[in-house]
């Protein structure tokens, strides 16, 4: 080949390489910048609010009523609403999810797996508004008949529907963890005369524990950030209460309901950004813990 042509081609190729690397790099860096953008944006918008209302009022006030003539800025009722709904949800979801995981990874034969796994995937893919619809129109009636609460839409209603939404996340992550437990650990346990259940209980679950914990954390993170299902299920009365049969308003629901009403730049608007910031920090910490536990775990069994 003529060396001149070859050289020119080579140079063109090198430029193309450089250009492509630049474009791809921009896309990659963009994604990381977005996270920084979210955080900075939430902070800068809520700083004026904290300056005029004060951190103490925000975190210790027991009333949230930004649109009253004498506005109340206590985040506690929203915070307890979120905690009540997601933790009761977690208490319902964790045992069922764990049982389902053990069945899926240790007991089920491949035919059952072929049905169960897609079912769990579909459950994870159902839009949250459908869960909300079910909670508001069907589940609430069942709860009325059993517990006879004074509110038709209440925290228990939200907690149950959140539990159903948490299970698929928990199962898919912790099933992976249990499958990753090396075969020789199981076989060693059987060789010592342990039954299958004893092996599961004292070998597989302890070995997969970090993955199971991470799966639970991820599920709780999802529940804390869930908006539509709780918005439609819990009745949205903002009150400071730990009664599971009362109507509560969560942080996410407060944002969804109040932001469209608030004028841009007003104290209400900034106050809602403060709630958003708190929500962001809570979910960020939960996800970070899950991520760290999981990556450490994956390194152990590589």
């Amino acid at each position: 080949m003529d060396t001149k042509i070859y050289k020119r081609e080579n140079r063109a190729r090198r430029y193309a390489e450089g250009g492509i690397t630049g474009i791809l790099g921009a896309c990659g860096i963009l994604s990381v910048l977005i996270l920084a953008l979210v955080f900075i944006f939430l902070i800068t918008n809520s700083i004026p609010f904290f300056q005029s209302v004060g951190l103490v009022n925000f975190f210790t006030g027991t009333q949230w009523d930004p649109f009253a003539s004498e506005a109340m800025w206590g985040v506690l009722p929203l915070l307890t609403g979120t905690i009540l709904v997601s933790f009761v949800g977690a208490i319902i979801a964790i045992p069922i999810g764990l049982g389902c995981t053990i069945y899926l990874s240790e007991l089920a034969d491949s035919k059952v797996k072929k049905i169960l796994k897609p079912a769990i995937e579909i459950l994870a893919g159902v839009p949250s508004v459908i869960y909300g619809l079910f909670a508001a129109l069907v589940l609430s009636n069942w709860i009325m008949e059993i517990f006879d609460p004074s509110y038709r839409l209440n925290a228990l209603n939200g907690a149950i529907i959140l539990a159903i939404m948490m299970i698929p996340i928990q199962v898919s992550v912790s099933e992976e963890a249990m499958n990753a437990v090396p075969r020789n650990l199981r076989e060693a346990s059987y060789a010592m005369g342990a039954t299958r259940w004893e092996t599961i209980k004292s070998v597989i679950i302890p070995a997969a524990l970090p993955g199971i914990i991470a799966s639970i954390a991820l599920a709780i993170g999802r529940a804390v950030g869930e908006t539509m299902a709780v918005l439609m299920a819990t009745g949205n009365a903002s009150q400071f209460s730990f009664d599971i049969l009362t109507s509560v308003r969560t942080m996410t629901a407060a944002l969804a309901i109040d932001v469209p009403e608030a004028a841009i730049g007003s104290l209400q608007y900034q106050g809602l950004f403060a709630v958003g910031l708190l929500l962001f920090i809570i979910t960020f910490v939960i996800n970070l813990i899950a991520d760290m536990v999981l990556s450490k775990y994956q390194e152990t069994y590589k």
Partner: protein, 287 residues
Amino acid sequence: MMLSRKNKERMFFWLFRGCAAAVVAFLTIIIMFVIVNGAGTITWDFLTQNPMPNDTGALVSGGILSPIIGTLMLMGLVLAIAIPIGVFGAVFLVEYCGSYKWSRYMWMTVNNLAGVPSIVWALLGVGVFVYYLAFGLSLISAAITLSLMILPIVMVSTKEALEAIPSSIYDASIGLGATKWQTILHHILPYSASGIITGIILSLSRAGGETAPLLLTGVALNATIPLSIFDQFQALPYYIYMMTSASDRANAYPMAYGAALVLIILMMIMNLAAATLRSRYREKYKW
């Protein structure tokens, strides 16, 4: 009473079977309720008319044409915005981002972005796109907000698809004198295409079913089919939410169930397409 080891095992195993059965039962019950209550509502008129007010002025008559079109337009815009950025970004982080430490931090960030609640994305959308960039309450504000939300999901699924390609393919192509980008364009991307497309379909179905960001960024109950991307719009999940909380329950609930059934069918089709693609891919390429 002490159970024997054998019986203890049997008891626990039945408990686990019960848990698994419960999970399947949840899914069946929810889907059955929507099908049973929604099937009667779905007629040709329901699918081809816009929502219309009844005698009292409440928007509980007519059909769901504008919500369906609104949701499809939204998904189309998200496809155009989020997919190129997400796929190219993931290709960069997997193939080009040099040091292991850096790419690990980058992926940790992406994983964390995937966990940011949708309502926080909505706040960002309101502040940046609706007000700061002055797009107003509009289709484009909502579409960019949803795009940001699903970006990390697209990236993670693309990463998994890329990493499933054995490194021998890469080495062989480089060994024959191809440049890095030629290798990626002619070998890595085609082989991982079905994996990437599966991820894209699932992310889109996620965007189509999302409601909370729309509430803040431009959905409106009385909107018709948008003529420009700066118009307000209707969306299927939002319509379901409004019908569920409407005061005229007798007329609104059947509409809510009907729209929910349409939404579920739409999501099912997308999920099924993704599953088919994935299983076909697994048969085609066995490394």
